[in-house]
Structure formats: C-alpha cells, structure tokens
C-alpha cells in the first residue's frame, strides 16, 4: 500500500468533511515471539498489524478516531466519527498541529538483518541461553527463555504540510530462572534488547546475571526498622525517575498537580544530580527522528546540577504554557492521542564505581528491587517495598527481603551524596548506581 497517497487522501477527505486541521498517523508492525522452556519450544507467536488514527480540529475542538480496518469504507467511517465527535468537545485556541518539516537524524534505528536470520537460529540462541543460566547448581527451575523481535514503520502527515516517516527494528532475549532452598524460592530475570541482532550482549553475561539475581537472594532476611543510607542499583532507577517524569509533564504542571510545578529555575536536588532527556542517541531504543506528532527530537537537560531547568511539552500543551514544544509528544500506537512522555530519561553518570559506593557505606541498604508506585507526582511522597542486600562496614553482609523504604522527593533528591559511573541506557528510565545518605527503612520491631 502507498501510505503517502493514503495519508494525503485522508487529510483531504477530513478537510472536505468539515475539519479545519487534520492529522493522520499510520503504524505498521510485525512481531515474532518465541518461548522455550526446558530446552523445548513452548510458544511461537507471529503477527502483522496495521492501523491508523485520525486527529481532527474543527473550530478549535479536538477529537480522534482510529481503525485497524484499512479499506475505504472503514477509513471513511473513522474520519466521520472523528469529525462528529469534534462537535462535542470544548473549543480551545491552543488546539493546533505542528508544522515542522525537518527531522532529527538518528542513526542505527533499523537493522534489516534481524529479519533475515532464520527462525531456527533464534530458537537455538534462547535454548543456549536457558542452558547457560541453568548450569549453576543453585538454579533449580526455569521460568523460560524468550526471543522477541519487531519491525515498525510510522507514517505521519498533517494539513500543515508535514509528511514524515521512519522505520525501526528491535530484538531482544530474556531469561527467567528460579533458585530454591527448602521452602524458599527466589526468581531472577535478565533481558537484553537492541536495535540490531549483532549488538545483543554475550549470552554468558545475561545468563550469569539472571542466575545470580535468583541465588544471591536465598536466605534473605529482615533487619530492624531504622534510618540508614540507601544505595540504588541501576536496576531500580525507575523507582526514583518515574515520579519525576510525571512531575515535569507540562500538562500536570498546568493542572497544578505536580510537586515540581512551581520550582522551575530553583534548586530541587543535590549538586550531584543531573537529569537528561535524549531522543537522539544513535541506535537508542527510545530514540526517534521525530516525536509522536512530528516535532524533532532533542537532547535536553531537565535538572542541571540540582537546578530544575524546565518541563516537557507536546504542541498543544506548549502553546497553553506559552513555550515551544520540546519534542515530547508520546504516541505508542495508532490508537492513542499524543500524550507527553520521555525518550531516554536518565541521571547523568558520576565518577565512583558501584564498588566504591558500597565500600564508602558503613551501614545501609543496597536496593535491587523496589515495588509500589514510586514518588507521588502530586505531592512528592514516596513509599515502596524493598529487597536487596544489607551493607555493613563497606561490604555486602546478607540479602534482605520484604522491607519498606519511605521519604519525600525533596529529601531524597537533595540527599543524593554519591553518583556512580555505571550508567547504561538500556531502558526508558536509567541511572547509574547512586546513594541517598539516609532514608527510613521499615522492618522488624
């Protein structure tokens, strides 16, 4: 199908049917998923899907409709539905579409080689991964090993003459294993996702990490309720970053629902804390040439040595706030309106290694797992379930489980007193190891 023609036709039709501005977002996605367990294939799942979403603005009123049925009649229904719905919403002069013609150049987002590799090779890869993870005697069971890949093409066009597209690929492997001792079970998972097959980490490294996560936690116990230093492993970066991400969402700020809303230009954290959003990293899993509505992506410093520099916007919210879009319109699929979200959102690396940070800690909790909602973006309160290792005299003493940690964002961000050098940008939210000098830990009486 010629999507350029299709996009132009849809925009023309929308304008003809009464829209003052229109946008079409087309997504085509091909996916493969394989699960093996105990050396045998358990699941193979394959799919191709296409869908499109039409956003219309009529007399300042916004509506959206989408379909995965791409025949003419269904597309017409979609356009008419969007226009009909736009009669009911509230007019707002800020409801506009972007008109930027340029895109950011981001290398390495697509690797066709992934899809040329025979399926059998992908199956053998995860069978080997599972075998390696099971090699350790302390590992008793496998939860499975997974391979997944996806190929996606995005077409985006609007009535301001914007017309863009890009193609991306993704492949990844995951292993899950269980270590047991008497009645106690501990699970460990590790994944690696990349834009290219050839960039996947060595299987030994992934297998070893998953196995260690499981058996290192055997015999975990509790400690007494107390205040102590807390070291965040890179695996739990989300626990601190997720709430900050919501709190710097420009729309939450306008709603008055952000604890950071009135802090722009002010000190919000320790001088060691720098937070960046970057949509331009070559081959980055969360990089793209343009955002969910066609605005160029960029690299932005959100918090610079503790000072809050700004918020994140899409086009409409930026206009409401009287600023320019920051290229943070997030649209994860064709049936979603552009929201506001991050690209690679991370805490910048510091100097010490993880070992240095542990050695510098007389007593504390080395966090490997945090559960719960993280920081409440409305008021900054934080409370979570915690597991990891107890540190005594600069050394890992024993694993700990079912603890709680709590504090406020203000205290936590200002109390960061060490930031490590081990930053890896594998997730949407990433951080190197860092330490908060004191937090309330809940445990035994």
């Amino acid at each position: 199908m010629d999507y350029k023609d299709l996009s132009e036709t849809i925009i023309k039709r929308s304008l003809k049917k009464g829209a003052d501005a229109a946008e079409v977002y087309i997504q085509t996605l091909r996916q493969l998923e394989i699960q093996v367990r105990k050396g045998e294939i358990e699941i193979i799942q394959e799919s191709v899907s296409n869908g499109l979403g039409v956003r219309v603005i009529s007399k300042g009123k916004l509506a959206f409709a989408s379909t995965n049925d791409l025949n003419d009649k269904a597309i017409d229904t979609t356009i008419l539905r969007a226009i009909a719905f736009a009669q009911s919403t509230t007019p707002d002069e800020n409801n506009v579409l972007p008109s930027e013609k340029e895109s950011t150049i981001v290398e390495g987002l697509y690797d066709p080689k992934i899809f040329e590799i025979p399926t059998q090779e992908k199956i053998s890869l995860i069978i080997k991964l599972e075998k390696l993870a099971m090699k350790n005697k302390r590992i008793t069971k496998s939860d499975g090993a997974w391979y997944s890949e996806a190929e996606e093409i995005i077409y985006l066009a609007n009535s301001n003459g914007l017309l863009k597209q890009y193609k991306s690929s993704l492949c990844g492997i995951t292993i899950g294993v269980v270590a047991e001792k008497d009645e106690e079970k501990r699970s460990g998972y590790e994944s690696c996702y990349r834009r290219s097959f050839s960039n996947l980490k060595p299987l030994e490294e992934i297998a070893d990490k998953a196995a260690k996560k499981a058996f290192n936690m055997l015999n975990a116990r509790q400690v007494k309720t107390q205040k102590a230093a807390v070291i965040f492993d890179p695996d739990v970066a989300y626990a601190i970053l997720n709430g900050i991400l919501t709190a710097i969402n420009g729309e939450e700020v306008l709603k008055g629902a952000s604890f950071l809303g009135k802090k722009s230009g002010e000190k919000t954290g320790s001088e060691l804390l720098t937070i960046i959003d970057d949509g331009t990293i070559p081959a980055g899993l969360f990089s793209s040439p343009f955002d969910g509505e066609g605005v160029t992506t960029q690299k932005r410093t959100i918090i610079d040595k503790g000072i809050l520099k700004g918020f994140m916007y899409n086009t409409i919210v930026a206009r409401r706030a009287g600023v320019k879009s920051t290229g943070n319109a997030e649209r994860s699929n064709y049936s979603a309106l552009p929201d506001i979200g991050s690209h690679h959102f991370y805490i910048a690396a510091g100097e010490p290694s993880q070992d240095d940070i542990i050695q510098a800690t007389k007593k504390g909790l080395f966090l490997k797992e945090v559960t719960g909602y993280g920081i409440d973006a409305v008021n900054g309160n934080f409370s979570g379930g915690a597991a990891g290792f107890w540190i005594e005299e600069g050394k890992i003493a024993f694993p700990v489980k079912e603890l709680t940690i709590a504090g406020t964002a203000n205290e936590m961000l200002n109390d960061i007193d060490m930031v490590g050098n081990d930053l890896e940008l594998n997730d949407q939210l990433s951080a190197p190891t860092f330490r908060i000098k004191s937090m309330q830990i809940g445990g035994e009486k």
């Binding site: 358990e42 699941i43 509506a63 049925d69 009649k73 919403t89 069971k141």
Partner: protein, 510 residues
Amino acid sequence: MTYYYISENIPRRVFLKLGITGGAAIALAPSALSQLLYSNASEEAKTNLDIEPQILSRTIKKALEKGGDFAEVYIEHRISRAILLEESKFKSAVFHISQGAGVRVLSGIKTGYAYTEIIDEASLLKAAETASFIAQGAKKIKPVAIKPSKRKSFVKVKVPLETVADAKRMDAMQRAHQAALDYDKKITMVSVTYRDHERKRLIANSEGLFIKDGLPIIYFIVQALAVGEDTQHMGMERVSKRAGFEQLDEVKPEEVARAAAREAVTLLDAKETPAGKMDVVLQNGWGGVLVHEAVGHPLEADNIAKEIGAFTGKMGKKVASDIFTMIDDGTIINARGTTSFDDEGTQMKRNVLIENGVLVKFITDILSARQLTLERTGNGRRQDYRYMPIPRMTNTFIAAGKDKPEDILASTPKGLYVQSLSGGSVNPITGTFNFTCREAYLIEDGKKTYPVKGATLIGSCMEIISNVDAVGNDLDYGPGTCGKSSQYVEVTAGQPTVRIRNINVGGTKG
C-alpha cells in the same frame, strides 16, 4: 514474560513502569494505557461475526493439518470511546474501531498462535497455517464438527451502549465535574474520564464449540485535586460494571465525584505513617486486591504447571487460618470481572479456591487444565485477539465471616486502619506481594484517629493468609484492572473487613 502481576484502581501507566521491568518491549508494543483503548470494530464490520461456520471449520482443519490436539479460532470486534473532561474543558474525545481473529494450536504443552486483522477465509487460513507449524510431526486428531453451543448468561443489559447519545455520556461527566468542584473550596482541579467499549466475540474450536456474544463495559473515573497550605493530594473514585449505560443511573456520577473530593480533602491533613511491622485492619471492598495479589495470582495454574508457583505441591493442604475462605466467581451478575463464558468458551463458575484454610482448587485455562489434569474453571481470559488466553481471575474475594466490623476495630489496640487501597503487585514465584494504601488512619486504643500518608504494605503470601485473625460479615467489592504477561483484563476484588497481624508498613516515622 512477567516478573510481577499487578492490579490497581488508578490510571495504570505509573504502576506498569514500576511493576514490570520487561525491558524495551514497551518501545514498540502498545503502551499500557492505550491498550485499554486499543480495541474495536467498525460498526459496519458487524457482519464479521456472521462469518460462515464452514469457513471456521476449514480454518480449524487447516490449523490441525500438521498435527496437534486442539485448535481454536477467536474472532473479535470492538467499538470503544474515551472522553476526557479536565480543567473544566472537554479536552478530547476518542473513538476506536477494531477487528481481529486469533488462531491457536495446542500440541502437548506447545502453543502456536497467529492473528489477522483482515477477516476473510484466505487470511484465516494463513493464520491457521502459521499457528500450525508448532505441531509439525505431532500426532493428528480429527476435529469435532462445530455446532452452536449454549451458555447461561450473567451479563444483563438494559440500555445498550450503542443506543446512548454522546451528549448523555458528557452530561454524566459534567455533573460529576461540578459536584467535585462544589464539594469544597480546596478542590482546584477535577478530571473526569469516561470510557466504554462493546466487545463482540466468537469462539469455535476442534472440540465442536461454536459460540458468540457481546460484552459491554463502562469505566467512569473521577480524580479531584485538593490544595492545602503546604501540600496537595489527588483523590480518586471510580465505578465500573459489565453492563449497559443504566449503571450510571444506578450509581450517581455526583456521588462518585464527592467520594473523590472527600478523599482528597481528608488527606490534606495526613500525618507521617509509622514504619515497620504492625497490625492492619482492612476495610471491606476493593481491599480484596490483597488476596487477589497475595493469593489469587499464585493460584493460577500456569505457574503451578511449570512447578515454580509459590503454591506448587500444596493442593489439599492447610495454607491459611481456619476462618479464611477465598472464592473466584465469574457469575456475579454484571460485575466488572463477570462474563457468561471465558475467552475459550468455558461456562463461568463460582470456584472456591481456599476453603476454611485448605487449598482446594487452582485457577485454570484449557492448557493448564490439560497439563495438570484438572477441571476447567472458566478462567481462560485474554485482553483481545492479539493475545492467547491464559489463566486469569474474574471477581475474587474473601468470603464473609462472622465478626462485626466495629468489633474488629475495637479489639485492635494499635495499628493501621486501611480504608482504601490503590493497587498491588506480587511475584508469583517467591510469593512476595505489596500494595499501596490510598486512605489510611492510625489506630489507637481500638479507635480510628488521624489520617496518615499513603504507605506501601509488604509481605509474603503464605504468611499473610495465616495471619488473618478476624473476618467481618460485611463483604463488599470494588472494580479494577489486572495486568499479567502484558495483558490487561477487567476484574473485581472484594472482601469483608479483615484484620491481618504483623504486616510491614512503609512509613517515614521511625
């Protein structure tokens, strides 16, 4: 792949990112929030469920051509709407239509799955062929000829969604918005989200099953922001039933809004929560998310079949205190987790899982029931046609006991009174669960005192069900959404007022 199973009653974006660290799969797969809206079928496409039965038979035959012992075709289409009224503006209105068909082949413990979004014979046969490769070389069976099957219905609709004008939906939203603003001067911003969808489904399989129905649902959520001198709080309340628009006449939108506003204003005075182990009294209703997470997920038979689930090998054994009985019941009329049959066509049932402390039943789908030689409990559910069914809960609750709720509180000298919860998660292998309080009070001398800040509660499933030492007579339920293996389904969680001894609380006060 799932590390944590989660359930919650608030917009789930936040929790997903915290609960499932499944790596970058989320880069290309639909985000959690939009998955709820992903959906739908063109109204014109209604005929797709009227596909000729012979085409279904030929698809099943094709699926079993290479071998295998079970094949199934699932066809779905969906129409859904989402309207947002926020900051006194109808900011957006979203309409979705989608259709799709999934073909599944089982061969022993193996599953092949493929789906198509074009519903014609050629596309169905192609999906069947893709799914069939898994069974290459396996023993062949002859499918039973399909014929219309009957199931008892538990979804009664008075006002079908498609007969309701959008103006009526927006009127309910506006009334809620105004009621929240009018509740108190401290309420500065209100957000009302209205979502509904009608999911029509058809299931046919090699056992001869052939069945169709349509499932409507509404999710109506009010969030209210209260601003105090030095803090602010977002209160929330929601209603949801598997029923038509009549549900918004039965439960007044204004009442939902006032409940959200009351919570927001109340919590402006919240003080620090103590940290560490204490006794917890959980008020009746959505607090049942505790057993949903701590016990329900670990009782799902897929992890039992893998021999990694926390309850592996515990069938028939005493796992909880004598007063603890837990039920999963997909037949509660029009409840959010109710259907007439599950997404594999199995009739919905009332399943007692733990009876007076003894484990008596696991939650199964067709695959896990075959693996473990257990009965099919009617829990094979899927988010939509893009996913294969897996064992899931429906409406899960602790059965009512004998204690009066006021006596439970009065006999607790010191502890935490949890009036409502946000959501929770569990690692089904280790059994470690957590859940987050929305509205909680400190208990002193058997009385509720002042409100405290939302805190995380954490523990292990085996311990917690042994530590339940009081069960009230006031069973009630609340609606929520449950995530497992990237699939989101509608559920209800319920419980009477209960007391649990010695839970670890994530407070800031030492």
